[in-house]
């Protein structure tokens, strides 16, 4: 007796593999000898042909119900592959197109003496990298406390308005980035004496970051067992001390993950920067005064110019940005999985 009777035995799997193999050969033959074009034709043809072959085989062997099941599972699988393919394509493209422009001088020079259309060896993106780091730093300083406190309101105080505020936070996370930029433009640049700068751009990014941080921290805080809170209160601690000395430290790594997710959300935002950042060619270490640049802005400028050199610069800058995002993402994952182990 097999120990897992519901699993398919090799004798059942083998014919279907053989059928898939045969249909693969058929598809390759058809694509090679007819006028079909493109590598995607192989995939696009193999999936229906393979599915049909499998369908008729199980119809012959097991009947209509099993045959329908085969069709369904193959459609689901196709969906998963179709979702997976663009990611692979995007990652590969960025590395292939971006790598040729990566050099040390890229990270040590700004564009003060070079223009985007100069050969790629001249100039660099130091000013944009520094600008992006400033944007991230200021946005974190604004959004993490705001997001965390909102999450505390929703999980610890659970005031009468918390359902409503929950709703509002979700609505806020759907605010388009262009609207955030327009809002800061009209509320800060048109209304107050402040002009476009790194600080003003960070305000726009914070609008996008706060809801992300709130929702992620809220999920972590909800995981903290109520026993801990009750234990704190039973020891005679006030609510403030329970939250500050028990709940938040217990959720620490999860809260860091939440902040990183927020940073990943805004690191590549371009649209708000168009209204609020101004853009610059030179390194400017002062985020409050004078113009600054940022990586997305650099990419945007390079793409819009459209020459071979400027687009190459954009690809390299995208690679740098992608590496930043990937690092943040991995950090968030690692910390996030640690926090689950600690629980």
């Amino acid at each position: 007796m097999p120990s897992k009777p519901w699993q398919r035995t090799p004798r059942e799997i083998l014919p279907s593999l053989a059928i898939l193999f045969l249909s693969l050969i058929l598809v390759i033959g058809v694509v090679e000898f007819t006028g079909m074009k493109g590598k995607l034709a192989y995939i696009g043809l193999f999936i229906p042909v393979g599915t049909a072959a499998q369908f008729f085989w199980s119809l012959y062997k097991y009947g209509m119900k099993a045959a329908k099941d085969v069709i369904a599972s193959s459609i689901m699988m196709t969906g998963a592959i179709a979702v997976f393919l663009p990611v692979v394509s995007i990652l590969l493209t960025t590395f292939i197109k971006g790598l040729p422009g990566i050099s040390i001088s890229l990270f040590t020079n700004d564009m003060g003496k070079a223009s985007f259309t100069d050969p790629v060896g001249m100039g660099g993106l130091l000013h944009s990298l520094v600008g992006t780091l400033y944007l991230i730093l200021i946005s974190v300083l604004i959004s993490v406390p705001m997001g965390l406190l909102t999450a505390l309101y929703l999980t610890e105080i659970r005031g009468p308005g918390s359902r409503f505020i929950q709703f509002m936070v979700q609505a806020m996370s759907g605010v388009p980035s262009v609207v955030a930029g327009l809002f800061i433009f009209s509320a800060v640049i048109l209304t107050t004496p402040l002009d476009t700068s790194g600080f003003v751009a960070s305000l726009a990014l914070s609008i996008l970051m706060i809801p992300t941080v709130t929702r992620a921290s809220q999920e972590v805080l909800l995981l903290i067992p109520n026993d801990l809170r009750e234990a704190g209160l039973a020891m005679g601690a006030t609510q403030w001390r329970t939250v500050a000395m028990i709940v938040v430290p217990a959720a620490k790594s999860g809260l860091i993950t939440a902040s990183i997710l927020g940073v990943a959300r805004i690191a590549g935002e371009t649209a708000p920067l168009i209204f609020t950042l101004g853009g610059a060619d030179k390194l400017n270490p002062n985020p409050v005064n004078g113009l600054q640049s940022a990586l997305p802005f650099y990419i945007w400028t390079g793409f819009r110019l459209g020459t071979q050199e400027s687009v190459q610069r954009s690809w390299s800058a995208i690679l740098v940005l992608l590496v930043v995002v990937l690092t943040l993402f991995t950090l968030a994952r690692v910390l996030g999985s640690n926090s689950k182990v600690a629980k």
Binding site: D69, I71, A80, S186, W240, I318, L322, R333
Partner: protein
């Protein structure tokens, strides 16, 4: 001696039992509550500021700001400002692109979510979930550049195929054989951007399908497809609708990716395969740098319309998703 004195002393009155929070707690609650109300404040402020800056335009253009198909202003010979600003054509473009994105993304995402919930072995499942989360964190300009340089050549070929075989349907017809930079391709790029959202929301709802119902179906002799058809899909229908609307909210407001891929032309265009179009958000950035003061106000007004649209879509999406998720508990 001291003992005696103590005995004669009055018994202290019992401490008053109170549920009133201490001062430190009240300060804490005050701070947290006021920050908690921040999201409401910000949303209100966004609405107020954009509406007030766009007010002059709304007043002057009236309803034609929404329905007008023209965007032009100039100073005539007498020195009067003549303006005819309406975002109608761009609203059409926004809806057209979003529909393309939804039509492509929703089936794929639902299939992917079903695969993840019911078919995938644990290892593939966690890998795919990571990939989808990663996809959600890609910057939109990366999607735009990828769409322009990598997806466009393939998509142009698909567009030609569609035109060749389905060109008799008005939507797939084109005025001139210009297949690059069309709303169709922009919609495909947007589809890749909203797939992670729709997939993760639907997956969450599917994973809440009551286990006893699934097991009951299996016990009655159902196979996987029957379980999905009779249990998971009816249960998760609301989640799919809500997730799609969240995706729609994202698609309506996407700026940079659309601007990168699409050939922005201010004219109403219903033909998805024809290489011209735009959406409200990309319209705002393409007119921004050369805008006069009055035009800037109009663009801020357009931002207000966009804000209202996404707000309504997101509100209804949240409402539907919340109902779908709490139903399972």
């Amino acid at each position: 001696m001291t003992l005696l004195e103590n005995k004669s002393a009055e018994i202290p009155a019992p401490r008053e039992i109170t549920t009133k929070p201490r001062v430190s707690d009240r300060i804490f609650r005050l701070i947290v509550t006021s920050v908690g109300a921040l999201s409401v404040t910000i949303l209100t402020l966004i609405g107020l500021f954009l509406a007030s800056r766009g007010f002059a335009t709304f007043k002057e253009e009236g309803l034609s700001f929404i329905t007008g198909f023209e965007w032009q202003q100039y100073t005539d010979d007498a020195g009067n400002r003549v303006s005819n600003l309406g975002i109608g054509a761009m609203l059409i473009g926004t809806i057209l692109i979003s529909i393309v994105a939804l039509v492509v993304a929703v089936p794929l995402s639902v299939f992917c979510a079903l695969y993840l919930t019911f078919y995938a072995p644990p290892r593939i499942k966690s890998a795919l979930v990571t990939v989808i989360d990663l996809m959600a964190s890609f910057p939109s300009i990366l999607f735009g550049m990828w769409g322009y340089f990598i997806l466009m050549p393939s998509a142009e070929y698909w567009a030609k195929l569609l035109y060749k075989y389905l060109g008799w349907i008005p939507v797939f017809d084109v005025k001139a054989p210009l297949f690059q930079r069309s709303p169709f391709i922009a919609g495909l790029v947007l589809a890749t951007m909203i797939i992670p959202i729709v997939t993760s929301v639907s997956r969450e709802v599917f994973s809440q399908t009551p286990l006893d119902r699934i097991q009951a179906a299996y016990a009655l002799g159902a196979n996987k497809w029957s379980v999905i058809k009779t249990v998971a899909l009816p249960f998760g229908a609301n989640g799919i609708v809500g997730g799609s609307m969240l995706g729609l909210g994202r698609a309506l407001g996407e700026t940079v990716a659309v601007y990168t891929v699409l050939n922005i032309v201010y004219a109403p265009n219903f033909q998805v395969l024809f290489g011209a179009g735009g959406n409200v958000a990309s319209h705002i950035i393409s007119y921004w740098s050369d805008a006069t003061e009055y035009e800037t106000g109009a663009l801020l007004g357009a931002g207000f319309v966009l804000f209202l649209m996404t707000l309504i879509v997101n509100f209804s999406a949240d409402f539907i998703v919340n109902r779908a998720v709490t139903k399972g508990k």
